[in-house]
C-alpha cells in the first residue's frame, strides 16, 4: 500500500519537477515566462502524436522537447527582441498552446497510447520495496533528478551560472561587462521550453499514456508556483514537487478507499488550494523571497548601442 502510494507520488511529481526546474533557470536569467502550461501541453500532444506514429517513445520525447523549445523560441523572440510585455506574452503562449494542442490532438482522442518502458537494473531492482520505488522507474524520472543536480551545479558552481545569475540580477552591469544579455536570456528561455516539453511528454507517455484535451490541467501553473515556493533554489524545487505530487495523488487514493464523505471535487481542488496556501506562506515572508528573487525578473532590457 505504502509502496503503491510512493510510486504514484513519484510519477505525479516528475512533470512538476522538470517543468519547474526549467522555469527556474528562465527566471534566474530575469525572464518571467508564464507560458509553461502552453509549452507543456504542446509537449504532451506532440510527444504522444510522434510516439503513436513512429512507435518509438524516444522519438516522441525528442519531438516533445523540440515542440516546447519551438514554443519558447516564439515567446523569446517577442519578449526579448520585440520587447513585448512578458506577462501578456506568456499568457498568449498558454492560450495558443492549449488551442494548438486541441487541434493537433483531435485525431488522437481515445487512441491507445504508448508507455515509455521502466528501466530494470539487475540486482538493484529486485530489492524489496527499495527496488520498485527507486530502481524501476522510467528514464525521465531519473532525468528529472539529473536535471535538478545539473542546474544546481551549473547555477552556483560554474562561470556559466554566474553569468546567468548576473544577467538576471543586474542586466545593465552584465551588459556593461560585455555579456550579451539577450543571448543569455534567449538560451535560458529555450532551456525552459525544452524542460516544459519534456514534462509534457511525461504526462502523455508515462503518467497517463493517452491524449486527453487539457490533460496538463494547470500543472504548468503549479510549476510556476513551485519556482516561487523554492525561492529560486533548485534543490527546494524537489521538495516542492514531491509535496504537490503527494497532494495531487491524495485524490486517487482517497477515492480508492471509499472515503465517500468527502466530495471528490474537494479532493481534486486540493492541489490548487495548496498552491494558493503555499504561495501565501512563502510570499508573506519577505526576507525569504527578497534574498533570492532575481532583481531584474520581468524587466525588459533594450541594449543601447
Amino acid at each position: 500500500m505504502f509502496e503503491a502510494v510512493l510510486l504514484t507520488v513519484i510519477t505525479a511529481a516528475t512533470p512538476l519537477l522538470i517543468a519547474a526546474v526549467g522555469e527556474l533557470v528562465v527566471e534566474r536569467s530575469g525572464v518571467l515566462n508564464l507560458g509553461v502550461e502552453g509549452m507543456m501541453i504542446m509537449g504532451a500532444v506532440v510527444g504522444f502524436a510522434v510516439a503513436n506514429q513512429t512507435g518509438s517513445g524516444t522519438l516522441g520525447v525528442v519531438a516533445a522537447v523540440a515542440a516546447g523549445m519551438a514554443m519558447s523560441a516564439l515567446f523569446g523572440f517577442l519578449v526579448l527582441f520585440l520587447v513585448a510585455n512578458q506577462v501578456a506574452t506568456g499568457l498568449a503562449l498558454t492560450i495558443l498552446g492549449i488551442g494548438f494542442s486541441g487541434l493537433i490532438g483531435e485525431a488522437f482522442i481515445g487512441v491507445p497510447g504508448l508507455r515509455i518502458p521502466s528501466l530494470y537494473i539487475p540486482g538493484l531492482s529486485d530489492i524489496p520495496f527499495i527496488g520498485p520505488v527507486f530502481f524501476q522507474q522510467d528514464a525521465i524520472v531519473y532525468l528529472g533528478f539529473a536535471l535538478v543536480a545539473a542546474v544546481a551545479y551549473t547555477l552556483f558552481r560554474t562561470r556559466l551560472g554566474l553569468v546567468l545569475r548576473a544577467v538576471g540580477d543586474n542586466h545593465t552591469s552584465a551588459h556593461a561587462l560585455g555579456y550579451s544579455v539577450l543571448k543569455v536570456r534567449f538560451l535560458a528561455v529555450l532551456f525552459g521550453g525544452a524542460c516544459a516539453g519534456l514534462a509534457g511528454a511525461y504526462m502523455s507517455l508515462a503518467y497517463t499514456p493517452q491524449w486527453v484535451e487539457n490533460m496538463t490541467a494547470g500543472r504548468g501553473w503549479i510549476a510556476l508556483a513551485l519556482v516561487v515556493f523554492s525561492s529560486w533554489l533548485p534543490l527546494r524545487v524537489v521538495a516542492g514537487a514531491y509535496l504537490f505530487g503527494a497532494v495531487s495523488v491524495l485524490n486517487l487514493h482517497a477515492q480508492a478507499h471509499e472515503m465517500v464523505n468527502i466530495p471528490s471535487q474537494l479532493l481534486s481542488s486540493l492541489p490548487y488550494l495548496a498552491t494558493i496556501l503555499v504561495l501565501v506562506l512563502i510570499s508573506a515572508n519577505r526576507r525569504l523571497t527578497l534574498v533570492n528573487t532575481p532583481a531584474c525578473l520581468g524587466k525588459p532590457f533594450v541594449p543601447d548601442r
Binding site: L82, A88, I95, I98, G99, Y272, A284
Partner: protein, 362 residues
C-alpha cells in the same frame, strides 16, 4: 543585414490604432496558411470563417450574443491591466458569479416576481467581485503573486460548479443528469428589439460606455492610468495602490460575475457542469486587442466572438475542426503584442558593413 529597434520620442498614436488592424491581417494570413496546410482552400476558409457569419441574420445574432460576455469581462480586465493588476482568473469569477446569480432560481424556484432578475444580477456581480477579491486581498496583505492565485481559483470555481450541479443543486426531476432545474420565466433575461437580441447586450454596451467616460474623463480614470504607468508618481499624488488593487479586482470580478449570471439566465437557463467556452480567457485577448479601452473592447469583443462562430462555420462547411478558433485566438494575441512594439519603437534595417551604431553615440 539585421533589424534593430529604435525608441520613438513619444508613443505613436497612429501605430496604437494601426497595430490591432495589422495584427488581424497577420492572423488572417496565418489562418490561411493553416487552412492550406490542412488541405483546404485558404480563401474559402477565410471567407467562411471571417465573412460569412456576418452575412446571415442568425449568425450575426449569435456573434453578438457571444460578444456580449466577452466585452463585459474585457472591460473589467482592462481596468485591472491598466492599473498593473494581473487578474487572469476572470473565468473563475464568471463561474462564481453565475453560481451566486443562480442561487435564487435554483433554491427558491417559487420566488417569481419582478425583483427576481434584478436580484439575480446583483447577486451575480457580488459573487464575482467576492471571488476576485481573494487574490486582491492576498496580494495586499501577503504580497502574494495575483497572477497565480487568480488562475488557481479558476480551477477551484469550476470544481465548485461541478460539485453543485452533481450534488445539492441537481434537478430533483432531472433523471440524475448533472444539471440544475430550469429557471422560471421571471429568472430569465428577456429579449429586446423584437426578440432579436438579449437585454444583456444593451446593458453591456451601456456599462462599457460609462467605463469609457470614467477612464477618460474622471479622477478615478486618471488614478487607474497613473498607478499603472508610474506607481511612484501616483503615490505622491496621494493614490493608494492597495485600495486601487481592491477596486480593480472587485470591478473586474463584478463584471465577470454579471456576465456569468446573464449567460446562464439568458442562454442556458440552467446550470450545467460547464457554462463557459473559455470566455474568461478569451476576454484577456479582447482586452488587449481593444487597446484596454472600452470602445476598442466593444469592437474587439465582436472580432473574437466572430472567431467562435467562424470556427463552427468552417467545421460544418469544410470539416475543419472548430478547435481552429482557439488557435486563431491565440495567434491574434501574439500578433497584437508583437505589433504593439511599433507603438514605442521604430524598426530600422542595419547593414552589417556600415557602422551605423557609432553615429547614435555622438
Amino acid at each position: 543585414m539585421r533589424l534593430e529597434l529604435v525608441k520613438r520620442k513619444e508613443r505613436s498614436k497612429t501605430m496604437a490604432l494601426l497595430s490591432p488592424v495589422i495584427a488581424i491581417g497577420l492572423t488572417a494570413l496565418a489562418a490561411a496558411i493553416i487552412f492550406a496546410v490542412s488541405g483546404h482552400n485558404p480563401l474559402v476558409g477565410l471567407y467562411k470563417f471571417f465573412v460569412e457569419p456576418l452575412t446571415q441574420q442568425w449568425s450575426l445574432q449569435a456573434t453578438i450574443a457571444k460578444a456580449t460576455p466577452l466585452v463585459l469581462i474585457g472591460c473589467g480586465l482592462a481596468v485591472c491591466y491598466l492599473s498593473n493588476n494581473w487578474n487572469i482568473g476572470a473565468e473563475g469569477q464568471f463561474v462564481v458569479g453565475a453560481l451566486f446569480g443562480s442561487a435564487l432560481p435554483v433554491l427558491f424556484p417559487e420566488f417569481e416576481s419582478g425583483a427576481t432578475l434584478p436580484l439575480m444580477l446583483i447577486f451575480g456581480a457580488v459573487g464575482g467581485a467576492l471571488w476576485a477579491l481573494i487574490p486582491a486581498v492576498l496580494k495586499n496583505w501577503f504580497n502574494t503573486n495575483e497572477i497565480l492565485t487568480s488562475l488557481m481559483l479558476v480551477y477551484v470555481a469550476s470544481l465548485i460548479l461541478d460539485y453543485l450541479v452533481r450534488g445539492p443543486w441537481r434537478d430533483p426531476d432531472g433523471y440524475n443528469f448533472p444539471e440544475s432545474r430550469l429557471f422560471s420565466d421571471a429568472a430569465i433575461v428577456p429579449n429586446v428589439f423584437g426578440g432579436t437580441m438579449s437585454l444583456s447586450t444593451p446593458i453591456t454596451i451601456v456599462i462599457a460606455l460609462i467605463l469609457a467616460v470614467v477612464l477618460a474623463k474622471t479622477l478615478k480614470g486618471f488614478e487607474i492610468r497613473v498607478m499603472g504607468e508610474s506607481p511612484r508618481a501616483g503615490s505622491f499624488a496621494g493614490f493608494s495602490a492597495k485600495r486601487l488593487t481592491l477596486f480593480a479586482f472587485a470591478l473586474a470580478g463584478g463584471l465577470a460575475g454579471l456576465a456569468g449570471t446573464m449567460e446562464v439566465s439568458g442562454g442556458l437557463n440552467q446550470l450545467l457542469p460547464t457554462i463557459s467556452p473559455g470566455y474568461g480567457f478569451t476576454a484577456i485577448i479582447v482586452a488587449f486587442l481593444g487597446r484596454l479601452n472600452p470602445i476598442g473592447i466593444i469592437i474587439a469583443g465582436f472580432v473574437l466572438a466572430l472567431s467562435y462562430i467562424g470556427g463552427e462555420a468552417v467545421q460544418s462547411a469544410m470539416g475543419v475542426s472548430n478547435k481552429i478558433a482557439s488557435v486563431i485566438q491565440g495567434l491574434l494575441l501574439f500578433f497584437v503584442l508583437a505589433c504593439d512594439t511599433l507603438i514605442l519603437y521604430r524598426i530600422r534595417f542595419v547593414s552589417h558593413h556600415a557602422p551605423a551604431g557609432e553615429a547614435s553615440h555622438v
